[in-house]
Assembly symmetry: C2
Homo-oligomer: 118 residues x 2
DNA sequence: TTATCGTACAACCAAATGGTTGTGCTTCAG
DNA sequence: CTGAAGCACAACCATTTGGTTGTACGATAA
């Protein structure tokens, strides 16, 4: 069953796309979506930047709802949730659909031309 | 026929998602994808900001390849091209796919458990 | 021809971004 | 108990961003 979800707010979409506009963050998302064991420090080991920098990236992703952090002993496990990805993808799909609908409307007009009321 | 397209560079994706991380720009994309007559100034009339600001937004979208500008008399018509939207959408789809594949792999493991080689 | 429209571009500004280092607090290992 | 691992957070910095105003220039309508 497809759930009717209320459309995301502008601000939510801003944070979503903004958080994806960075290769490091996209790579983090890729890792956690693939199910890699992902504490913050295990993620930080893989990038050429400080631990704090990676920590900030994870915070940005969490703020955007793309990942969530969970206590696990003294670690924080980073888990991806694909629902936010789907929201972004749905918006892109709608924009693409606007494009395709143009031709559908054009075809309709050509098939049933209104009388030139000039 | 589906064309094998080389994967976009990190920088290209940065610009793509960055350009979408702004409600004004998303709205511009929506308008031009819907086929609205869109000179830069006719777009600028619709937003509560200066002409130069809208002009910059269009430039950012053009830089990301989401729209292109074309001479038309003394105007510059803004036209959307959905291919870049598709690139962004493809990335999101791949990330979501990673998530779903996790369960497929898990199912495979459960269905055919390897001998505990410890 | 001349005034004006549509655009481009530079300079400037406040705020956000992406990075750093340092400090301190928990939680675990020895 | 003590030391270290893992993390959070603040302060700081350079650069980018999103906005402004002002100036200039080609195309056009009168």
């Amino acid at each position: 069953m497809v759930v009717l979800q209320d459309s995301p707010t502008d601000h939510e979409l801003d944070r979503l796309f903004r958080s994806l506009a960075c290769a490091t963050r996209r790579d983090i998302v890729r890792r956690v979506m693939a199910g890699e064991d992902a504490s913050v420090s295990s993620l930080a080991e893989r990038y050429d930047m400080s631990f704090a920098a990676v920590q900030k990236h994870v915070a940005v992703l969490a703020e955007a709802g793309l990942v969530s952090k969970h206590h696990h002993g003294r670690e924080r496990r980073v888990r991806g949730n694909p629902e936010q990805l789907a929201k972004a993808r749905a918006l892109l799909a709608r924009l693409e659909q606007l494009w395709t609908e143009r031709f559908a409307q054009l075809d309709a007009v050509l098939a049933d031309p209104p009388p030139p009321q000039a």
